[in-house]
Symmetry: C3
C-alpha cells in the first residue's frame, strides 16, 4: 500500500467506481432489485481484493477498513439506479474507467502480495485474481458464464498479468515505487484498450464438435 | 458472542435449522442426492457466518468449533430426507423460523464484527452478509438466480440491515447486551413477516426493455 | 503435512494434475479460452485446499507457497490445450488419477485440520471439503449443476468421507503416520473405483413431481 501515492489512491477509487457500475448494470439487466444492485456492485468492486487479502492474511480486508470502499460502490449504485439508461449509454466511458481499474487492481494486488512475503509468480497470480476475481464472482452470482473466461471476449486477464508482471519485476529491480506502479498500470491500461479496439482475443483449444462426424470418421 | 444469552443461543440454532431445511428442500427440488442435500444445507446454514468469520479473522470459524453447527444441519437434512413432502407442507412454519434466523444472524453478525474492531457501517454490512450470504451461496450452487436479489422477492436484506443497524446503535449507546440484541432481532423478525404478509418489495431501477422502441425513438 | 512421505507428495501432485485436467476439459467443453482453461484448472485443483487452509488459518494457503501447485496445473492446461481430444480419449486414465486425488486430498485435508486443532468430526468435514470443493467450484464457475451433488453421479463424497474418517481414527490410535495415510487413501481410492464400476449412487429423497396427481389425490 505504501507504493500507492495519492494519485494512485484516486485511480484505485476510479477503478472501484467502474467495477461497481458494471455490477450494478448487470443487476439491472437481470431484473434484480436495489438490494441485488448493491450486492452485485459490492461483489464486483471488492470481491477480488477480499479474496487476495484473505489469502495473504491481511484481515480484515481493506474493503472493510477503508471507508471509500463502502461509499464509492454505494454512489455508483445510486447513480445507476436513478439513471441507468444514461449510464448504459456511457458504456465507452465506463470501459475506459474499467481499464484503469484493471491496471491498478492487478498492480496493487501483486505488490501487496509481495509485501506479504509471497513469491513473484504467486504475486502475479494474486494480482490477476484481484483484477478479474470480482468480475467472475459478479457473473457467477448473476448466473451468466463469466465474461472474462469466454472465447468471444477481448483480452482482459492478459493485460492484467502483464501489468502485474511488470510491477513485480520493477519491485525486484528496486525501482521507485510510485513510478514503477504507474508505468505497469499504464501498460496494462493501454494493452486492454488496444485489445478492445482491435478485438484481440486469447487463443482457445481447437475443438471438433460432437456430431460433426469429422472427428469420428 | 458474550451478547448471546442462552435464549439467543437457542434461537441461533433455530435459525440454523430453518436455513439448513431451506437448503435441503432446494436440493430435493433440484434432484440432488443425499450428499447434495448435506452440502446445500451446510452452505445455507453456515455459509454466511463462515464468510463473516474469515473476514474478521475469527478462525477457525464458529461453524467448525461449535458442535451444534454440525449436528443441527445434519438433523434438518435427515428430517427432510425422510419426510420432505411433510416439510414442504410446513412451508409457512419454516418461513417463520427462517425469519427468526434472519433476525438473529444479522444481529449476532453485526455485534461480532463490532467486537472484532470493525467500524459501525462495516459491522452492519457484515451482519447482512451473515444473514443473506448463505442463501445466496445456496442458490448459486443450485444454479438458480439468488432469491434475495430478485425483484419479485419480498424484503429480506432490508429487515436484516434494520436489525443490524439497531444492534449497532444499541451497542454504541451501551444498552444491556441481551436486551439490545433481543429487541433488534424482534424488529427484524417482525418487519420480515410483515414484508411477506403485505408483499413489500425493494425498489428496482425502471427499465425500458430493448426493442420496445420507446427508448430509442 | 509431516504425514506426507515423499510417495504421498508425489501422489498429491498426481491428484492436482488430474483435477486440473478435469477443469481444463470442462473449460474446452464450455468454449472458454486459454484464460478460462487456466482459471478452471486452478479452481478445480486448488479450490478445495484453499478453502480448507483459510478455515484452519493456514495462510497463505499451500497453493500459494508450494511451487508445484502452480507448475502442475499449468502443465495440465498446456497438455489439454494442445491435445485435448487425446486427453478426452484418456478419460478412463484421468478417472483413475482423479480417484487418487480424491483419496489423497480427503486424507491430507483431514489430517491437516486435526494438526490445526479441529475436532475429529470437523476434520472429516474439512477432508471432504478439500476433496470435493474444487469440483463444486469448477462446476459453479462453468455454470453447470455440480456433478458431485447430482443424483445421477456415482459416489464421490462418500469414499472421500470414508478415507477421511479412517485417517482421523488412525491418527487418534496413534498409528504410524505414513501407513495410516496410505491405507486410508487406498480405501477411498478403491471404493471410488468400485462405485464407478458398479454405478453405486447415494440415496436421494423420493420425490413425487408436481402435477403427477398421485400426491394430490
Amino acid at each position: 500500500m505504501s507504493a500507492l501515492t495519492p494519485v494512485l489512491q484516486v485511480l484505485d477509487l476510479v477503478g472501484v467506481f467502474a467495477f461497481a457500475t458494471s455490477g450494478a448494470l448487470v443487476a439491472v439487466r437481470r431484473d434484480f432489485d436495489l438490494v441485488g444492485m448493491l450486492v452485485l456492485a459490492g461483489v464486483t468492486a471488492l470481491g477480488g481484493g477480499i479474496v487476495r487479502d484473505l489469502v495473504i492474511g491481511a484481515v480484515p480486508p481493506a474493503a472493510f477498513t477503508e471507508p471509500g470502499y463502502v461509499v464509492v460502490p454505494a454512489v455508483a449504485v445510486l447513480l445507476t439506479f436513478v439513471a441507468h439508461r444514461l449510464v448504459e449509454r456511457l458504456g465507452r466511458a465506463v470501459l475506459v474507467l474499467d481499464a484503469v481499474g484493471l491496471g491498478l487492481f492487478s498492480v496493487a494486488g501483486a505488490l501487496k502480495a509481495l509485501a506479504h512475503g509471497l513469491g513473484p509468480v504467486q504475486a502475479v497470480v494474486l494480482g490477476v485474481v484481484t483484477a478479474i476475481g470480482g468480475g467472475i464472482l459478479r457473473d457467477v452470482v448473476a448466473g451468466e458464464p463469466p465474461a472474462v473466461l469466454r472465447r468471444d471476449s477481448e483480452l482482459y486477464a492478459v493485460p492484467a498479468a502483464l501489468a502485474a508482471t511488470l510491477a513485480v519485476i520493477g519491485d525486484r529491480l528496486q525501482l521507485d515505487e510510485g513510478w514503477n506502479a504507474a508505468v505497469a498500470l499504464a501498460v496494462g491500461f493501454v494493452v486492454r484498450l488496444l485489445a478492445v479496439r482491435f478485438h484481440w482475443r486469447a487463443p482457445r483449444a481447437r475443438r471438433v464438435r460432437h456430431g460433426q462426424g469429422r472427428d469420428r470418421a
